[in-house]
């Protein structure tokens, strides 16, 4: 088994070493064959206006994505990412402006006349999000159809995949963290869990986008949790924030400030935790892959393949754990907002 695995990894490193080298060369301008792993890694973990898969020789195999712009004076406009780049090198830049709009080398949208413009493009991550949503919808809806057809019969197919997750989120996360009123929040927590989990897992696929490791995505999810927590906050919750019980009057202004900041640090922690955990995993994997090209050695290639496989297995764990942690902490924050405190003065 392990011999077969080693032989395979050797074969793959030999096969890919050359073409990856070409990618580096293409992306960094090929300064005397010296590759820049940092820009290679950063390019892979950041969002982009086109979906770049790999290079064959000097040909970039990419999927051009729609660029949607909005400006108050121009209205909505639709383009393709290939409109704004060099057809040969696939580089964006001011010099490739199209119809008065350009995408610069840092993939920021701009107008030639310096006016303001908003970017609603279907970027790589937006496309990835649609794939994740489609996947989640397919699995959950086919699971749900089992229940519609068979009622309370034992789960089968997608239902048997999803049912343990549903029960786990309902009983182990929602019920334990929220308390008696947990049933209202189970659908949100379930959606959160399956979306993040699927996003984490699909993000590990080669060529996939780093969706759940993007700060905008984690920011949106954390924001939704923040809204749900504060919309459902009961009297006790707000009393805790603005008139913390058991605190001397002189300290109250400081406490209120601290508690008020606390409202925002909770979702902020959610946002940063998921972003960092997923992005770090991607960076580690890509860094190990880059090692082979930095050292330009087949033996390092074998070693880095072994390490990448190892890290990938860990990342499978991390994908699940981070989805669990995000859901659990969301549930705990909701639980803190809806909990009925026993009304004694000892807090």
């Amino acid at each position: 088994m392990s011999r077969k695995f080693l032989a395979l990894s050797l074969l793959f490193s030999v096969l890919f070493l050359h073409s990856f080298g070409e990618i580096f060369a293409a992306e960094t301008g090929a300064k005397e064959g010296k590759e820049d792993p940092t820009s290679f890694i950063m390019h892979h973990i950041k969002d982009a206006h086109e979906w770049h898969f790999f290079n064959v020789g000097h040909t970039h195999i990419t999927l051009p994505l729609p660029v949607i712009t909005y400006a108050s004076d121009r209205g909505l406009e639709f383009y393709l990412s290939s409109d704004f780049q060099d057809p040969e090198t696939h580089k964006f830049g001011k010099e490739f402006a199209h119809n008065g709009i350009y995408i610069d080398e840092h993939e920021h949208l701009g107008r030639v006349d310096e006016g303001s413009i908003m970017d609603f493009s279907i970027t790589k991550n937006v496309a990835m999000m649609f794939i994740v949503i489609a996947m989640v919808l397919y699995v959950t809806l086919s699971a749900a159809s089992h229940y519609k057809k068979n009622g309370t019969a034992a789960p089968k197919g997608a239902a048997s995949l999803l049912e343990p997750i549903v029960i786990f989120v309902r009983d182990e996360i929602a019920q334990k963290a929220i308390g008696p009123k947990y049933m209202r929040f189970v659908p949100y927590l379930l959606t959160l869990f399956v979306f993040i989990w699927t996003g984490n897992l699909l993000g590990l696929l080669p060529g996939a986008a780093n969706l759940t490791g993007n700060i905008a995505v984690t920011c949106t999810l954390a924001f939704l949790t923040f809204i749900i927590v504060n919309v459902n906050g009961n009297k006790d919750y707000w009393k805790h924030v603005f008139a913390t019980p058991g605190v001397p009057a002189a300290l109250l202004p400081i406490m209120v400030l601290v508690e008020f900041i606390g409202l925002f640090t909770k979702p902020f922690a959610l946002m940063v935790r998921l972003f960092v955990a997923v992005t770090a995993g991607h960076i580690v994997i890509l860094a190990f892959i880059s090692l082979a090209f930095i050292f330009e050695s087949y033996s390092i290639g074998v070693l880095s393949t072994v390490m990448v496989t190892f890290i990938n297995i860990i990342e499978l764990l991390v994908a699940t754990i981070q989805a669990y942690v995000f859901t659990l902490f969301s549930a705990m924050y909701i639980g803190g907002a809806v909990a009925e405190h026993a009304h004694d003065d000892h807090h």
């Binding site: 950063m42 973990i45 950041k46 969002d47 982009a48 206006h49 949607i68 840092h106 993939e107 920021h108 908003m118 970017d119 609603f120 493009s121 279907i122 970027t123 991550n125 937006v126 999000m129 649609f130 949503i133 989640v136 919808l137 959950t140 809806l141 699971a143 749900a144 229940y147 519609k148 009622g151 309370t152 239902a159 999803l162 049912e163 549903v166 029960i167 309902r170 049933m183 189970v186 659908p187 949100y188 379930l190 959606t191 399956v194 979306f195 993007n214 700060i215 905008a216 995505v217 920011c219 949106t220 999810l221 924001f223 939704l224 992005t279």
Partner: protein, 164 residues
């Protein structure tokens, strides 16, 4: 595209996509799933409870049967005892009846014997009296064949009469 600055476009699409996903899943996936899960759990719970109930009933029935059996045994014992007593009494009764009847028979026999004896005795007496009379007649005939004796006897009688 920056690493740590969230881009507005992605936030917009993410918000839109996630909320759409949330509503579709709530309506078409989570609600039916959670409902049928709850239904299944409650049906399992009910089945367990009814099994427990059946088990309890069974054990109740068993103990009841045991009780009935015990009672039946007791009753049987009582009936047997009564039967024994009755038969003993019957034997006893029969015995006393038999002895009574025996005594009666004996008494009757005695009475018959007594009357027979009396009858026999009186017969004997009559016979004796007849014999005596005959003997006396014969004697008298012999003695009174002479006149003198007859006169003496008459005198005797007269004498007796006078005294009276």
């Amino acid at each position: 595209m920056d690493l740590i600055i969230p881009s507005g476009g992605l936030i917009f699409w993410q918000l839109l996509g996630f909320l759409a996903l949330l509503f579709i899943l709530i309506k078409f996936a989570w609600k039916p799933m959670l409902a049928s899960l709850a239904e299944r759990e409650s049906s399992i719970e009910e089945a367990l409870q009814s099994a427990e109930k059946a088990r309890n009933e069974m054990s109740n029935l068993k103990s009841e049967n045991e009780k009935l059996l015990q009672e039946a045994r007791k009753e049987r014992d009582v009936i047997l005892k009564k039967a024994h007593e009755a038969s003993a009494k019957m034997i006893e009764d029969a015995k006393t009846e038999a002895s009574k009847q025996g005594a009666q028979l004996i008494a009757n026999a005695k009475a018959v014997i007594e009357t027979e004896k009396k009858a026999a005795l009186s017969e004997v007496k009559n016979q004796v009296a007849l014999l005596t009379l005959e003997v006396t007649e014969k004697l008298l005939r012999k003695q009174l064949a002479e006149d003198k004796a007859q006169a003496a006897l008459v005198d005797q009688f007269i004498k007796d009469l006078k005294i009276n």
